[in-house]
Symmetry: C2
Subunit: 766 residues, 2 copies
């Protein structure tokens, strides 16, 4: 997915502009020093620069934007004002939500409205400069110019801490705006003053997530002189002749609530606010806070976050330039931000049915951007986050059991299903993990959940798909994309069923896995929409995009390649390797056609290859299936060099909960899981001199380039564990016990490596 607004022109702003860490102390130890949290904050990346521990439920980060689709994380690097610091954010999604429980330190006249970025209306927002901004894993700081307040943020799993350094003032404040949320609406909220250092409350948001409850408990390091609560912009206090009946000034509920805590401050005085978050209750939010941040040692929290990040980042050890390391470790950092843990310290969590459950030995996770992350994120997790991937799959199975429709998650977060995007891509995540031997999953139940999800009688034309062998465009939108992705998911189910001896399921789904054939029009050599009578869509323009048309965020130029389970079958349909090659070349060389609203914000384009969105992600690797891997090697390097980097504007598209980063991490190592659910990795061309991946099973896989140089983008030869490797792919079984892949590189293609049919990666068809 990708954002709806073009920011590409803003890339100019970003050059060498992101701020450096200041002297907080023992900062940026170990791998953390290679992470730049600002990467992806300029333009389409939709990342946030704030503080989070790996896979942490809480993401404390500044919000500079709350309305535009183009800043779904709440932060856009080209902005020059900050609304405040909120506790929850989405990593790299294409749709805004979250931004919950916003705090803002202010000085002077109290403002209850946020104000406008163009300063046409006053408000509590403040100007800031990137010169006074700093971020590294677990830490973010900025100087708020309007108030001369320095704000610093850090986080634990379920809590955050903010430290505000004030100027001298007898009118210093900490404001809480419960109405603030990114783009969407607060249905209800409440807040109560527990004592002069403590407030608790909640808000319920009807957003992208339909019904989301966020509870908080906040403690202030210094007692406030007074806390004023405002509802509908009026202070709530009892006034006999105005309110008639008593009103508590400490316990307020409604839909538009702010709280302002008043202070007098000395120059340089620090006031910290620590905030626990829960989806269950304020009591649990307080329990989370008490257990995770028992004292006021801000530096300790930062250090602890860095220790956690270093432990995760150390799963990779790379050699390369500073820029390469920053690019790589930032990608790993982004990769380990989502999904997020979603349970309280005491193990309680809110389920899809809004009931409160208690974790057993499986830990609950949420934020499953599955249309994106099944491709490379979860396959990477199989290698380096095996236990977490197991927990994530168990979380998906819990979702399935809590689903009124007996569906696995499609696109879910914070115990809500958004129904975003297409397919049922929890399936490849499950099947991929199954074949990788991930432990701790009830695979019988998992297969049941996969079949149930693939056969829902109302979901996205599944009955017609099974009956006709394709999704007809006169019944269903995005019919071609759905057909192709269903067929791939079905292949995964078939393979798992076969392995588990479930023949009836295998037979049913291996047939469905071939559905792609039914929408390939050999007369034009494109995937083409077909109606329920079996007629091709007339006057088919391959470059035309229409919202609710036949293709999902793209055209047949991208989608005609979506047959990862049977690339050879596709080659055959296209008329053989030569026709396939000519066509595949043309994707990258064709002149850009008319750009249609709805896809005009997808960037990272090379011809009609759109790296800024996921349907293209496997395409460069398809050259291996026709014995021309060198063509892919060149393109892979082109993508890595032009669409990734260590700058705020380096990401060409939404990071999509890590999928963009996962593509980079795999590709930088020289291989990519074109067809998750199989154990096959297709060999590309490594981007760094050396990468060691320390896998969850305790083994290490080393990738090393001989003759590494930036211009040496072509693979001359490969050896795997000392064996000369002539296949242009390898299997999980061949690397699961660790070992070494050595790429010998050169500046000219070795066109004979991987040329023979025996070298091709597997497909259903031969």
């Amino acid at each position: 997915m990708r954002k709806k607004i073009i920011y590409s022109f803003l890339v100019l702003f970003a050059l060498g502009f992101y701020a450096k860490a200041d002297n907080i102390g023992k900062v940026q130890q170990g791998y953390c020093k290679y992470v730049n949290p600002f990467v992806g904050t300029l333009g389409e990346g939709n990342t946030y620069p704030g503080a989070q521990v790996p896979f942490g439920m809480v993401q404390v980060s500044p919000d500079t934007e709350k309305w535009k689709w183009g800043a779904a994380s709440g932060y856009e690097y080209s902005d020059s004002t900050i609304y405040g610091f909120s506790m929850l954010h989405l990593h790299g999604t294409g749709i805004p939500d979250m931004g919950d429980i916003l705090f803002m330190p202010t000085v002077g006249k109290v403002q209850l409205e946020s104000g406008k970025k163009d300063r046409s209306e006053p408000g509590y927002l403040s100007g800031f400069s990137h010169n006074n901004e700093c971020a590294f894993p677990g830490y973010y700081s900025v100087l708020l110019d309007d108030y001369k307040v320095k704000a610093e943020l850090t986080a634990t799993n379920r809590a955050g801490m903010m430290r505000f350094t004030y100027p001298e003032s007898d009118s210093a404040h900490v404001l809480l705006d419960l109405k603030h949320v990114l783009r969407h609406n607060v249905v209800w909220s409440n807040v109560r003053v527990v004592d002069d250092c403590t407030i608790v409350g909640m808000h319920q948001v009807k957003g992208w997530a339909r019904e989301r409850y966020v509870y908080f408990a906040a403690k202030f390091s210094k007692p406030f002189k007074q806390a004023h609560i405002f509802s509908d912009k009026k202070e709530v206090k009892y006034d006999s002749y105005k309110t008639y009946r008593f009103r508590s000034s400490k316990d307020v509920a409604g839909t538009d609530i702010q709280l302002v805590a008043d202070y007098s401050t000395k120059e340089g005085e620090q006031i910290s606010v620590k905030v626990g978050i829960s989806a269950v209750s304020t009591a649990n939010a307080m329990d989370n806070l008490t257990n995770e941040i028992p004292n006021w040692n801000f530096e300790h929290i930062v250090e602890d976050a860095q220790v956690k990040w270093n432990a995760e980042l150390s799963k990779f050890d790379v050699e390369g330039t500073q820029e390469q390391k920053e690019t790589f470790y930032t990608a790993v950092y982004h990769e380990f931000m989502a999904p997020v843990r979603f349970a309280d310290y005491n193990g309680s969590y809110r389920g899809l049915d809004q009931n409160i459950y208690k974790e057993g030995k499986n830990k609950n996770y949420t934020l499953f951007s599955l249309w994106d992350t099944y491709r490379a994120t979860h396959p990477l997790f199989c290698l380096v986050q095996a236990d977490r991937n197991s927990d994530m799959i168990n979380s998906m199975l819990a979702h399935y059991e809590q689903s009124a429709d007996s569906l696995l998650p499609i696109w879910s977060f914070w115990n809500n299903e958004t129904w975003c995007m297409i397919g049922y891509h929890a399936v490849p995540v499950i099947v991929d993990a199954y074949f990788k031997g991930i432990q701790g999953v009830d695979w019988e139940k998992a297969l049941e959940a996969c079949v149930s999800s693939a056969t829902h009688p109302e979901f996205d034309a599944l009955p017609s798909y099974e009956k006709l062998g394709y999704v007809p465009y006169d019944e269903e939108n995005e019919s071609v994309s759905k057909t192709l992705e269903y067929a791939y998911d079905d292949y995964c189910i078939a393979m798992m069923a076969k392995d588990m001896g479930q023949k009836a399921i295998y037979d049913r789904f291996i047939k469905r896995a071939m559905a792609y054939e039914n929408l390939f029009d050999t007369s034009i050599n494109w995937m083409r929409p077909k109606d329920s009578k079996g007629e091709w869509m007339p006057d088919f323009d391959t470059r035309f995009f229409k919202h609710m048309g036949a293709f999902t965020e793209g055209t047949t130029w991208q989608y005609s390649w979506y047959v990862p389970q049977d690339v050879q079958g596709l080659v055959n349909l296209m008329g053989g390797p030569k026709d396939f090659e000519v066509k595949l070349d043309s994707v990258f060389t064709t002149k850009k056609g008319k750009d249609y609203k709805g896809v005009d914000d997808i960037h990272g384009r090379i011809g009609e290859y759109w790296h800024g969105n996921e349907p293209s992600h496997h395409i460069t690797y398809l050259y291996n299936y026709i014995g021309k891997p060198w063509k892919g090697q060149k393109l892979i390097h082109q993508v890595i060099n032009s669409q990734y980097g260590n700058q705020p504007g380096s990401l060409c598209g939404n990071d999509d909960c890590g999928q963009m980063s996962a593509w980079y991490i795999f590709s930088a190592m020289g291989f990519y899981p074109v067809c998750p659910g199989t154990n096959d990795y297709v060999i590309g061309s490594p981007a760094l001199p050396k990468i060691t991946m320390n896998m969850s099973n305790g083994k290490s896989l080393k990738m090393r380039c001989e003759n590494y140089a930036p211009k040496n983008i072509y693979v001359q030869s490969v050896s795997l564990n000392g064996e000369k490797w002539t296949k242009s792919w390898f299997s999980y079984d061949e690397i699961k016990d660790g070992g070494e892949i050595v790429f010998k590189m050169g500046d000219h293609p070795n066109k004979s490596w991987g040329k023979n049919r025996k070298a091709y990666p597997p497909s259903i068809s031969k």
Copy 2:
């Protein structure tokens, strides 16, 4: 409190008109046969005729009205249409709320709007006739004329069961309208179809209770053909080209939701729906349902409810006419409807702070109409519901501990404080129980809670009250009423503190107990508003009422008598017994003055004595304090005979969670707790020949009239446990071990009984 709309003209409709029980089987055994649940449904009583077990959390009852203040229970006997049957109702309050989770059986075209009572707009409501209606404890039935469907209702503590008998139809339905609630607004709701017999869901209501969550789980005895869910009056179902992304037709949330379950029915086919309710979760609602109604035996639930009611009603054994018995047992029935248990079967309950708590050995209750019920309801509970009263007080202390303001409940229900009415009358409830020796309460904490509530720095001018010795009318509305009621509450605190050896608290509060003196203007012999400078309100019209004026739902004619802790002090202020007597006589004999909006709906008037509202409830007993009990005896009989009865229109005012009924029960027994918090009962004049009260301590107190006859309203003499009783009062200590009070009655006053000062009930002053 009382309703806002006059219905008195409708009393005409009621004569002999309420329906009789039909042949459900073992109905109306034991005491239940004397209960008429329709009493109070016509006019101001604000009772509901539906099914409830004693103190049950669930009240399944028909809703005929959802907007008017005048039908706060949802049912008004003069209506001829029914919207449906909802699960929760308030007993006898003056303000509407609840009416949650409404089901309606219909036949034919599906209607999603309720329609209007005048049939100017179509809807799902149905006409009905009282001829086809029947109610007794634990059971209600009606024939819905529009649909020819008979609906029967019964209830357990946390669940209800509805049995619908349909005509033959291929278009029969059960409709659920989650938008339905009495008068107020649904903030959010959701519903999900679990299987073809089961639905669950919730709604959140912003009503009189600010933030109320009601969860339900419903099971249908017959699988529905289909369940359609509507949101904003449109069916929710996925339509590729209309909704774009998938929508579940089984899991819907929003603010305006209906569900329609479709059936084909044979003539006379019964379909039952059983519904569990919880304030915590749908899981708990289902658990409540499963445990309390495990099968489909409707009759068994009815029988069980009757067994429970008989056990409670058997706390009284009376002799009298059928009408007297019906009047009496219906009063007892009404008395034991509220407060209600408020915890799930597993002990979970939602607290004032919206957190979920677990019951310990104390059972949680809610619905505390304390401004009303401290007067006679809780004093009666001390005698016959001692354990429940202990639980109720512990529930109040839990409320105190969960209160952001450290206040005991003022007027609370369903874990919400409404701040309705004035004073802090949890105090007399606590103190009364303390002196009655109620077990299981932490009295140290209770005293702390009382003091905290009486000294809140922002509540209703308490600081000015303490500083000035009265509430000044230029600072605070209802200043006279507040002063008088505070002073009484403070007396209670003083007495408890004294008994517990807390001298500082005693000294502080016994002084405050005399605050009434400061607002008695001896120049006019009335309680009179005074401003903060100590000046009396000029141009004071004793009959003038103004909303937010100096008196609460009344004038100085009622409030000048509100010094229950020191009636002799008031006698002295008024110039002695003679002046007091003349003035007290005038209350009952004065011609009615101009009636002002805001009090024009208070009925039960005898002159300026307004029995339809609580401030008058003790006044007839004040004659005992000047040696003229015979004057009170006559008036008490006048009230009993004119303002109570066994007919729908018999109650002259809101039953107010039982206070109107408690006045009757005490008065019928011949005594009344004029000053709860003391152990003194002031003797009146019994209304029935014989009443035995079986107290919670296992002892029985028998009241017996010699020479009983309707015209013999005057007490000639009294004996208590065989002792000739010359005092016009007795103490709890004198009856707590049971015994017998014998009244010798006559048709002429015995003016010498109770005449001597030694016979007067106690007061602070002599």
